[in-house]
């Protein structure tokens, strides 16, 4: 079966790739696009390690067909920092030891950013439910939740 040609945008850059009709967006990112920061923990949409945004909306890349990205804006962990300047969430995660093994971290950061874009002043409970689709087995979530709450406070302060 011949491959399908897809034109899309990843982290603000126009890209093209070829894929099988059955390939997931996760396969395309990790394969032809070479963006391995998006992780595969389950392939069934249960762990959130492959969280990306499509036109700003949070999705599991493993549950989306690669061909569906045609004409849309994909954002992955590789586009979160601007050069040497980390996103406030990335910086806060490092300062507050909100990661251990780090395999879930890209997905957690993408989800947390999507949450804060929708709700810049979340309660602890809102953060916990906002990140409930991202499994983390190392941290017990405590430091992740605190880091997201602190980042939100800091970002609100910066806006003011």
């Amino acid at each position: 079966m011949s491959k399908i040609h897809v034109s899309t945008s990843v982290n603000g850059e126009p890209v093209e790739f070829l894929c099988d009709a059955s390939a997931s967006m996760l396969d395309a990112l990790r394969g032809p696009l070479g963006l391995t920061g998006t992780k595969e923990g389950c392939g069934t949409g249960d762990c959130g390690a492959c969280s990306i945004t499509v036109d700003g909306r949070l999705v599991c890349a493993c549950l989306m067909l690669a061909v569906e990205s045609e004409g849309h804006e994909i954002a992955t962990i590789e586009g979160m920092a601007q050069g040497e300047t980390l996103h406030p969430l990335q910086r806060k995660f490092l300062e507050m030891a909100a990661l251990q093994c780090g395999i879930c971290t890209p997905g957690v950061l993408i989800s947390a950013r999507a949450l804060l874009e929708k709700n810049p002043d979340p309660t602890e409970e809102e953060v916990r439910f906002g990140l409930a689709g991202n499994l983390c087995r190392c941290t017990g979530y405590d430091k992740i939740v605190r880091a997201v709450l602190e980042t939100a406070a800091e970002m609100r302060e910066t806006v003011r």
């Binding site: 990790r30 590789e78 093994c101 395999i103 602890e124 689709g133 190392c138 017990g140």
Partner: protein, 751 residues
């Protein structure tokens, strides 16, 4: 107790691998690729128990795109009659676990592997392999496996003279329990069950392997020990260790289960046959079906105490599931359950029971949580019966320095009491709890304690000074939770330089000396010890160099704040020489500056933890929620407090999952029914509260910074602490885990 004179030890520094991990650049095992690489898949047994009469791979090999096929006949055989041990692993079982030999012992057991131009072709080829199975009756549960008429997995294994599924025993004994129970005022005996739980790391097992034309092998994989990967791969393939370069990828969680290999030897054999680099990545379903888990258990614990609460006798009988091949972690429950207590009469017995499940793997304090679940619940019941505070009862019975531990050694320091007292005096334990906050809602509080041995062992490190006067530290241990950050703190502290000038990386098996597994709560203990010794040698070299430059004796020189200085006025007056200045002059003054230290580290004192938890039970739905959790532990010295707290918090939440929601479910054909993250229910963010770690720092006198192990002890108490809290809420004891909604509802309907 942070020493205020320390600049880096005890500080929450940014971890050396941090920027890579928050930007997606860190390379985990599935992130590697090589030119010309092909892909491999396993064919797995569709039966829980079957004799393999023959395997015909000819159709698979004929499929276009297939490059190599491997079966058990390609794997080095370790005959059943002779044990070959690598650490705690018997290679007889490892060779049969990576590829089924005489029998398929569980659903999902690998029987063949195919490498092909892509995964789809490899999977199609797997489907063409014809395996002639003689399907046998299977057995899953311990209770069934130990029945006299149970299907026997290994006919050659006998127990008490008859073929049996009991593959091993362990007995620890002190005093005379019968005499002890006779002296007791109260004796309580209970039987407990728990289900197997998976370690639940988010990164599936994966590797990329290149077998070159000259027989040299390179392995990129994530594991808890690149030297374990090298040794097991060597034993199972026959490739000498000196030809294997095992490069540790970043590891996406292990918790014990990545202390053995599943894929690497098979990938080596496929790469050798095909002449191509081979990549193998497990699916989540394969991980859940065929790796790990921790054993399920059937335990009976009997404890006798005097009216004043002093324990006079304790007896534990622990049956653990080994899975299809022998080797459950008996020393966990048998050795740890009673270790924190001074009990004159103890009999602790473990049985290793095989059944048609995947072979168990280590999981954080292997086996100890199962023993503590039984023991700490019986203690709670005794305290209740005697009208004693459960924490006061633990204080009364705490082991002391000089006591002989049931597992052998004489205790040096025992810091168990400190953990109990810190909970006893914690605001959480004193806070009022409204036990009936609303109709249909009950609340309760529980406590429990835990013990883990901790460990030292082999560790290697290099400390090299760069030409521009900075530092590169190479360690031999994969970093599962921030050990690089701790080592950087230690080296920066000793050298008196800014933390950012120290880089820490993990060497591969050809660039650093032998280092044992990351496991057993040993790595920060061992690696900080060798890093200290190596850095002190480097400081010695730096003083010698300064001595040469100044023309004075090295002994007349001191090292302070990153500089060599004359030790006193008698030494002469010289301007200080910084690390950068000495590095710049290194070659003219004797050559490169750097050292390697390799030690078998000793002096890892045991770890103690005491936890307190509040739960809320929805009586109608049977849902137990954790409202508040406080976990006290003596860590000796927190080199990096953020990652010490993280170990405690993560261990507790894994314990919460074990207690409330996680379990393997099997169908009647012996197949795992919930091999996905949707149906195997680990705690998510909205399931748990903040976890309050009480980090007690009583320095270990046998370690240069005072470190004790941290990672294992936090998962030992939660099972019992939560069961005790649920009892406090409902007035009913739970002897079976998990306390999931259907089981809680069922129990509430019983009288």
């Amino acid at each position: 107790m942070n020493d205020m004179t320390n600049k880096w030890i005890g500080q929450r520094t940014i971890r050396p691998d941090g920027a890579d991990k928050v930007t997606g650049r860190a390379q985990y095992s599935a992130d590697f690729a090589m030119p010309g690489m092909i892909h491999a898949k396993m064919l797995r047994s569709p039966h829980a128990h079957a004799r393999i009469r023959g395997i015909d791979t000819s159709k698979a090999e004929a499929l276009p795109g297939v490059k190599a096929v491997v079966t058990a006949k390609d794997v080095v055989d370790f005959p059943l009659d002779k044990s070959v041990m690598l650490g705690i692993q018997d290679m007889r079982w490892m060779c049969r676990n990576v590829m089924a030999r005489e029998k398929a012992l569980f659903h999902g057991h690998p029987v063949a592997a195919v490498a092909a131009i892509n995964e789809e072709v490899a999977a199609a080829a797997c489907a063409l392999i014809e395996v002639d199975y003689e399907v046998l009756p299977h057995v899953i549960e311990i209770e069934d496996a130990i029945k006299p008429d149970a299907p026997i997995l290994h006919e050659w294994n006998t127990f008490e003279g008859k073929p049996s599924n009991i593959a091993g025993t362990m007995v620890l004994k002190t005093g005379d329990v019968e005499k002890g129970f006779a002296e007791a005022d109260v004796v309580i005996e209970r039987t407990f069950t728990s289900r197997p739980v998976h370690q639940g790391y988010i990164e599936p097992h994966a590797c990329t392997v290149s077998y070159a034309a000259d027989g040299r092998v390179t392995i990129w994989s994530s594991s808890q020990g690149q030297f374990m990967v090298r040794a097991m791969t060597s034993l199972l393939t026959g490739v000498p260790q000196s030809n294997i370069r095992a490069i540790p990828a970043e590891i996406g969680g292990g918790f014990g289960a990545k202390t053995i290999v599943y894929l690497e030897p098979i990938a080596v054999l496929l790469s050798k046959k095909s002449g191509r680099p081979v990549k193998m990545v497990m699916t989540r379903e394969e991980v859940q079906r065929a790796t790990g888990p921790a054993p399920g258990s059937l335990s009976t614990v009997k404890i006798g105490a005097k009216k004043d609460g002093s324990i006079v006798a304790a007896q534990g009988t622990f049956y653990l599931q080994a899975g299809g091949l022998p080797g459950s972690p008996l020393r966990g429950p048998v050795g740890c359950s009673f270790a924190a207590y001074a009990i004159p009469n103890v009999l602790s017995v473990g049985y290793d029971v095989v059944s048609n499940r995947s072979k168990v793997a280590a999981y954080r304090a292997p086996g100890a949580p199962l023993g503590a679940f039984a023991t700490e619940c019986v203690l709670d019941e005794i305290a209740e019966k005697l009208g004693l505070d459960p924490l006061e009862m633990r204080l009364k019975n705490s082991a002391k320095a000089g006591d002989k531990a049931i597992y052998g050694p004489v205790f040096g320091e025992v810091t168990f009491k400190e953990t109990v007292e810190s909970i006893l005096h914690h605001p959480h334990y004193k806070a009022p709890l409204d036990k009936n906050p609303a109709p249909g809602v009950k609340r309760g509080r529980g406590v429990a304690s835990g013990f883990w041995y901790n460990a030292g062992g082999e560790s290697s490190v290099q400390v090299n000074i760069t030409e521009d006067g900075n530092v590169v530290v190479t360690t031999g241990h994969p970093d599962v939770g921030g050990s690089r950050a701790s080592i950087a703190n230690v080296v920066a502290e000793l050298l008196g330089i800014d933390h950012s000038r120290v880089s820490v990386l993990i060497g591969d098996t050809m660039t650093i000396g032998f280092s044992n597994l990351t496991g057993g709560s040993r790595v920060t203990f061992a690696s900080a010890m060798v890093a200290t010794a190596s850095t002190e040698k480097v400081i010695g070299q730096l003083k010698e160099r300064a001595g040469k430059i100044w023309g004075i004796d090295a002994e007349a020189i001191k090292w302070e704040d990153g500089m060599a200085l004359p030790a006193g006025d008698n030494a002469g007056k010289f301007p200080p020489l910084s690390l950068k200045e000495l590095a710049a002059k290194a070659n003219e003054m004797g050559g490169p500056i750097g050292t390697q230290v390799q030690l078998n580290t000793t002096g890892a004192d045991p770890g103690f933890a005491t936890h307190c938890v509040d739960v809320e039970v929805d009586v109608d739905l049977g849902i137990v929620r954790v409202l508040r959790y406080t976990a006290a532990q003596d860590v000796g010295r927190a080199l990096h407090p953020g990652y010490v707290e993280g170990q405690i918090q993560g261990g507790v939440v894994q314990g919460i999952g074990w207690a409330l929601s996680e379990e393997y479910l099997y169908d009647k054909n012996g197949r795992v029914d919930n091999a996905s993250f949707l149906d195997y229910r680990m705690p998510v963010c909205s399931d748990v509260p903040m976890i309050d770690p009480v980090v007690i720092e009583i320095p270990n006198p046998k370690h240069p910074q005072g470190v004790r192990g941290v990672g294992e002890a936090p998962i030992v108490p939660p099972l019992a602490a939560i069961a005790n809290a649920v009892h406090d809420a409902l007035g009913k004891r739970f002897y079976a885990l998990p306390m999931s909604p259907p089981r809680v509802s069922e129990r509430l309907e019983q009288p």
